[in-house]
Symmetry: C5
Subunit: 91 residues, 5 copies
């Protein structure tokens, strides 16, 4: 998974059937200090994340598993909200 921040929403009416009723989040990947690190992406929301929250997201087939029992063929899903990140001195 990668860390990310919820920076927006994506709205879409013309889409494949599997995405009916799905919430799309715009995610900015971030590093452990919260700085932007990489390109934004569109992920489905599996945990009820809100604007500005730091989350971790999953890609590939595992993203779809997070949506079960709904069958949503997505390649990216927000699967958790971060409480805190603790880093060690050796980083």
């Amino acid at each position: 998974m990668r860390l990310g921040r919820v920076v927006g929403r994506v709205w879409s009416s013309a889409k494949t059937d599997q995405f009916e009723g799905v919430k799309f989040l715009l995610i900015q990947p971030v590093d452990a200090q919260g700085a932007a690190a990489g390109r934004s992406l569109v992920a489905v929301d599996a945990v009820g994340a809100g604007a500005g929250e730091t989350v971790y997201w999953c890609r590939g087939r595992e993203a779809s598993y997070a949506m079960l029992p709904s069958e949503v063929g997505t390649d990216a899903a927000v699967v958790g909200i971060v409480d805190s990140v603790t880093t060690t001195g050796s980083g």
Copy 2:
């Protein structure tokens, strides 16, 4: 998924059988502001997207799911057309 813009079409007569009758779109990945962000790719069209439209596309095995019940073994598919993107101040 990533955001992208439909910037062209790819035409091909010699191809694997699975791609018969499939429409190939040339996609330019873009960021939330619509600026180009990354290399263009060829995606199959699962939603009837047209030239210049902003879309979101999916990669990996999930791209093939978007084409069901047709069995199209693709690693990239346009799965939705974007109505709008709303971004928050914390982005």
Copy 3:
């Protein structure tokens, strides 16, 4: 899929059994204008592509599907030869 150009062949005698009789192409990824865009890769040939031809190639598990009914566990396959690419003004 990505666009690419066939720039060579890779010859190999020591390989896993699944690759017996398979043709390996050296592919240079290119953009819509034909300029090199990214690192070369080795792909199996599913369509009979020749030197210098512009093709599109698929990665991941879908690459293996292109070789069916042969069971070739490859992560990259040339799945079509490009006739032409048409780009729109908004690109």
Copy 4:
């Protein structure tokens, strides 16, 4: 797999059910000499790795296999701890 160093932990209470009881490590990818090489990621721990240890981690669906018989749909898992890396002169 890639080499990495355990540089922290990620704590999360709101997450998908599959992640209950799972330990999340913050991993900094490193090269063979131990220098940082790429962006940090969040991986589940399949081997009991501790802070500062050099590990190798797996991504994609194979990451989930490392957690069996637990069904954890993750796209990254630490699957081993490195004792040593030996490099040859031709590198």
Copy 5:
């Protein structure tokens, strides 16, 4: 697949059960001319490759297939040793 050169070995005693008895190679990805191209990775050896040899390696789920009938959930495997690479003038 990508071309690579075997530049070392990785030794590990604490690892998931699936990796018992598996040989880990440190691979430096290279281009068709043998120059380094990208970050090193750890791949399981499916063909008996030795130090300094030029190989091609596979990633993703297909890497695991190369190890059958052993069930090794790896995301990277060396699947062949390169005899030669021939490049065309149009590259």
